[in-house]
Amino acid sequence: MNVQRYVPLFIIAALVVAAQLLATAAGQPFYLTQLTMAAYYTIVVVGLCMLMGYAGQISMGHAGFFAIGGYASAALTTADFSATVHAGLGRFMVKAGCIALGKNLYGADVARLNPWLAFAAAIIITIVIAYLIGVPVLRLKGHYLAMATLGFGSIIYKIVLGTRGLGGADGISGVPEFTLVPGLSVTGSVAARVLNYYIAWSLVLLAALFMHNLVDSRAGRALRSIHGNEEAASAMGVDTARYKLGLFIISAVFASIAGIFLTHYNGGIGPSEASIMKSVRYVAVVAVGGMANLWGAILASAVLNFLSLRGYFGSYDEAMFGGILVLVMLFAPNGILIKMDWLKRRNKLENKR
């Protein structure tokens, strides 16, 4: 095993621990809440960075996948199944532990779906939608790809905004905590703040590790060749459509997972999570980090999302992201953190030898 490959991962892990220690030592543990939320947005960025930076496919609709995951999980875990638990499948699911009986705030009986089942359902929905959208969309290039994904994102936004069952403009609130294993649950309660901070960032690191290994695999080389020149890649025998679709679905699932976890962490989700502006923000963060620089994108996402969530940009929040996007693309289209990629470049030289 080549330890050097994983140095950036260790650096990020060390930064995560350092940030927690610093926030606690400074007596400002509430910073961790925003850092946790930033971590979930970072998972979207990790997936998008691969799609845009390595495979060269722009997506202006990733907030849509985030919302699909979040809304599916929120709707399923807040729905009351008490009408179904007395017979047939419903009773079986209660016995199997898939539906938990309990009482709500007012003492009435409710039956809640196990969040893991909701999680699985949300992921399946995401994969199906990503597949159905991906097959036609990924045949497109340039403006058409951007507009088609933008169109997809705004359809999701309009649907969650216009559907009463999904709460309309209010969104869904009262989403229960997500118990991963007994004693470890995704929840916004203050007591579990530090624990949740580490859950979130562990997920980021896992996602990054997955993508990092993917880049250097056979599939990763195929994807980079698609970015370089799709016709040439195709001529070399790379099944370009299959690889692009696969990566599109993976990055959609990443966004969906982030949506699910953040929804349980916040206890709710609103239509603004699906807005076009959110999708633009993900693209902006990837651009700042350096299109094909996973570690830069993670750092950029952590810093920018944290500053934005803490409200440092005030009413200029969206203008900041727009401005950053324009400036980076004008003056440093490869990203301002690209220099941090020295390690990867050195690896490349070694591989050549």
Binding site: G56, I58, M60, P136, V137, R139, L140, K141, G142, H143, Y144, A146, M147, A148, L150, G151, F152, S154, I155, K158, I159, L161, G162, T163, I276, M277, V280, V283, A284, A287, S315, Y316, E318, A319, F321, G322, G323, L325, V326, M329, L330, P333
Partner: protein, 296 residues
């Protein structure tokens, strides 16, 4: 459905359709000279309307609109000078992201110059209650203004591109940039000019539709998506086809309201966009064989 009801739907479809057509023409002008899709086109519409609303508080309506069109056109020229002109061979991905960023900047600037309130320009003739009856269906006189302006813009553009030196130079640039430059045409200035022209048309569209649709700082993006849909539907770069496609989309949308909830109106439009992009990227009226040669 009674005849009057169908006619009513058709007329409301024609109204929104001609709005989309004007926005689509703005896309086409810039696309023809540069090959860029300007994602900030919707913001030009919004800026035109907002400026006219502010000016109309202390000037006659016609003068306020004229000033608004000039100012929007200057904004368009400024955008080109600042963000587009000096880039050397930018990739399509880069241009898309830059124009999206510019659209956000314009939108946020509008939010800080005005505010988040929904405003509307005065009706050009009559008021919100006056209506004209056509075979039992009722429309606002403003609808006639929208249709009239759409027609006038079409005539103006046809004459402009066919008979004026600047218009012909712009067409030369879109046909073959290098050849146009060899003939002594300053291609860069033509690009700036195409941004100014399309911003001016967008601004004018904003003024005419403002009494009907009302204007807010955020109203640009949905209009841009609709305009783009129409531009694609007609075949990118073809303005006459864009008008036909605009009317078609408007009518489809209006009829969809009769069967679907109003909230899903935009979903129908975007569904049409996706279907066209997937199945007929050269557009309904475009040449399939010629379309196959283009990069989509």
């Amino acid at each position: 459905m009674s005849f009057e009801l169908i006619l009513q739907y058709l007329l409301s479809g024609v109204t929104s359709g001609s709005i989309y057509a004007i926005v689509a023409i703005g896309f086409n002008i810039i696309y023809n000279t540069t090959g860029i899709i300007n994602f900030a086109q919707g913001e030009f519409v919004m800026i035109g309307a907002m400026t006219a609303i502010t000016f109309s508080t202390f000037m006659p309506l016609a003068l306020a609109i004229a000033c608004a069109v000039v100012i929007t056109s200057m904004v368009g020229g400024l955008v080109e000078l600042l963000f587009i002109r000096w880039l050397k061979h930018p990739s399509v991905l880069r241009m898309i992201i830059i124009t999206i960023g510019v659209s956000i900047l314009l939108k946020e600037a509008a939010l800080h110059i005005w505010d988040e309130k929904v405003r509307a320009l005065k009706y050009f003739t009559g008021n919100e209650c006056s209506s004209i009856s056509i075979f039992g269906a009722h429309i606002s006189p403003q609808v006639l203004w929208v249709l009239g302006v759409c027609g006038a813009v079409m005539v103006f553009l046809t004459l402009f591109f066919r008979y004026t030196l600047v218009g012909r130079s712009m067409r030369a640039c879109s046909a073959n940039r290098v050849a146009a430059m060899l003939c002594g045409i300053n291609a860069k200035n033509m690009v700036t000019f195409s941004f100014m022209l399309s911003a001016a048309i967008g601004g004018l569209a904003g003024c005419v539709i403002s009494p009907l649709t009302q204007t807010q700082y955020e109203c640009g993006t949905p209009l841009a998506i609709k305009g783009f849909t129409v531009a694609i539907l007609g075949g990118l770069g073809n303005s006459t086809a864009a008008v036909a496609a605009g009317l078609l989309l408007g009518i489809v949308e209006a009829l969809s309201i009769s069967v679907l909830p109003v909230a899903y109106k935009d979903v129908v439009a975007i569904g049409v966009l996706l279907a066209i992009i997937f199945f007929r990227p050269a557009g309904l009226f475009g040449n399939r064989a010629a379309g196959a040669l283009k990069e989509f």
